[in-house]
Symmetry: C2
Subunit: 378 residues, 2 copies
């Protein structure tokens, strides 16, 4: 601990009861690690859509103001009343953010397992990663091979395990092909590489021609554009060809989940013989794992009766597959970190950059192909 500073900076997000979001830097104490703990100097932490939910929440950045000093910038933004209701239990609690990241172990507890990590580069899943230093239990760290940098290992968990979770869930629930929306995202590109490697048919739903191009260049076979006039018939055709009966939807709100179920039902009816007033008996499932659209999800009656729509989250999935499943998936991620699970970042920013309003607006926009990486050691 001799070489370590006594305190480190950490990004904090606070929603005040008067309806204001405040992003700031806090100076937090760096305390001795317990026997099975280590202290990681964080060198890379991605800004994922799932992080922005906590960081920005219902704050309206278009109305935000830059405050604080150059050294300690602060962003404040109004939170509309409807947003305040959704923020419920977090109001007036200053919270740290950042689901995952990677860095170097600079202090370790007394146990052999902790000591073995000393000086190693580790990937971390523990929350509060938007910090200069982060104390973690060794079970929250995964040792990376010597040729992997923190930048390369920063996104080891959320996107790789989520995309693997999709193909695993597909198999566990008896489906043989799948549908993915917002399909040109970093996660979507990863899912395409997994499906190509594993021989799984994947129907990619995108909204823009440039997103189609990203996926075509990757070798994706089935790409449909939800902005096209022929969307529904294109989708039904792809579903008939692939037999996909499960979808993972990052959009969540609006008509998309219902459209997918309707198209699945239409594809199933084309194959089925005879009429059933309950629709086809093909089970059809849409899992909503994101909420890019915050309007209500709408599901029309034409989906028949053999349908399901519901939330899907990574952590309950990882619990369900147990220790053996977790080890198997993590092993695959590490061994394919430079290929299948490579993440590409368009900008690397410092803690102070993160609280610069122009930068914040840019990473909050979640533009396709744009991906921000925080490096708290800059």
């Amino acid at each position: 601990m001799a070489d370590l500073p006594k305190t480190g900076l950490q990004v904090r997000t606070l929603i005040k009861s008067e309806g204001e979001l405040e992003l700031s830097l806090a100076e937090v104490d760096i305390k001795e690690p317990g026997p099975d703990q280590v202290i990681v100097r964080v060198e890379a932490a991605p800004i994922n859509p799932s992080d922005l939910g906590l960081l920005i929440g219902a704050g309206d950045l278009s109305q935000a103001k830059q405050g604080g000093s150059e050294d300690r910038p602060v962003i404040t933004a109004p939170v509309p009343p409807a947003g305040m209701r959704a923020m419920g239990a977090r109001v007036d609690q200053s919270m740290a953010a950042g689901n995952e990241g990677a860095g170097v172990v600079v202090a370790a507890g007394s146990s052999d397992a902790a000591q073995a990590l000393m000086g190693k580069t580790v990937a971390c899943l523990g929350g509060e990663m938007y910090s200069e230093y982060r104390k973690l239990h060794i079970s929250q760290c995964m040792e990376l091979p010597d040729d992997i940098t923190p930048r390369e290992g920063a996104s080891c968990f959320v996107n790789p395990l989520t995309s693997l979770g999709m193909t695993e869930t597909m198999r566990m629930e008896g489906h043989t092909a799948l549908v993915h929306t917002a399909a040109a995202s970093n996660l979507g590109q990863m899912l395409n590489r997994i499906c190509i490697a594993d021989g799984i048919d994947l129907v990619n739903i995108v909204r823009k021609p440039e997103q189609e191009k990203i996926l075509k260049d990757l070798g994706a076979k089935y790409i449909v554009n939800s902005s096209s006039e022929t969307f529904m018939s294109d989708l039904v055709d792809a579903l008939v060809e692939t037999g996909a009966t499960i979808a993972f939807d990052a959009v969540g709100g609006g008509p998309l989940a219902g459209q997918i179920l309707i198209a699945m039902e239409s594809a199933a009816s084309k194959k089925a013989g005879g009429y059933s007033r309950y629709g086809s008996d093909t089970p059809k499932q849409v899992y909503v794992y994101g909420r890019l659209d915050l309007s209500p999800t709408t599901i029309p009656p034409g989906v028949g009766m053999s349908w399901g729509c519901g939330g899907w989250l990574l952590l309950p999935f990882l619990e369900k597959i147990g220790a053996e499943g977790n080890v198997r998936l993590r092993k695959r991620v590490v061994s394919e970190l430079k290929t299948t699970f490579a993440s590409h970042y368009t900008k690397e920013i410092s803690l102070r950059d993160m609280l610069n309003l122009d930068v914040a607006k840019a990473y909050d926009a979640k533009a396709t192909g744009e991906k921000y990486l925080l490096n708290p050691s800059l």
Copy 2:
């Protein structure tokens, strides 16, 4: 077979490709039963909402015309274009209707099992029960005790097994209390009797004061009215008290399923400590088993991420619980047929009545407390 007529009358429903529904009586041959078959003279068959889906389908009875003769009445009704799309595979096929019923075995095949049913009153689940005579496999018949009449045994399957299926599903999926909508229906009353007998907390959702009264008189403890201004807070209170996290919804369309999930999430948050941006981790499920409202189901984002909404049907459920489960449930139904599973009918009608337009409009209205029983032997 000596005493049997050569033909019998049967209700037929036909949707023609030009957009017209036709209800008529067909004269169908009565053929020799196979070794494991029997011929049942049908004396009672309920008209359930699930039967009307096939019988009337998307036909618009408000625009219907009476035709045919007194002896062979015919009803014709237009089917709007939107309805025609939903009718898909059944167009231009004359179909028989009637999921269940009861009657007396008047002819039996050569096997011992079939011969043992000769002269017995049996409950039948086989479809096409709106017929004077129905040939069925012995597995589709359940022998009734001597003191049960066909009228008492006519509704042995759909409502009893569906309501038992709800409490069974509740237990199988790890919930301890449940919510039911359209709760004053025949099925809803049955579910209340089951829950009172089995000590299960049931939250009843109704729309009208007179429906509240029906359930209060039955001894129901939790009744909330969705037309009340305090509906959402009443529902949350009932969910906090009962801990119900699964609902069975006969309405299907509109905001109700989403409101139930929101209220469950609100009840779960009241109990949970700490903020999670994904909402509570309490699994919340709404099963849609009916479609009284044909508008889209809408689910707002405030339900968190641990939610599911999907179709629920009796037959897949019965398959899932296997032979042992089926025997267990059927045994309970027969032994409580005069109490828990008693059905009450407000009108008993003949085959010709069924094709009388005024009568048809009345049973198609599915009014609370009204229940029609067809007696094809009248």
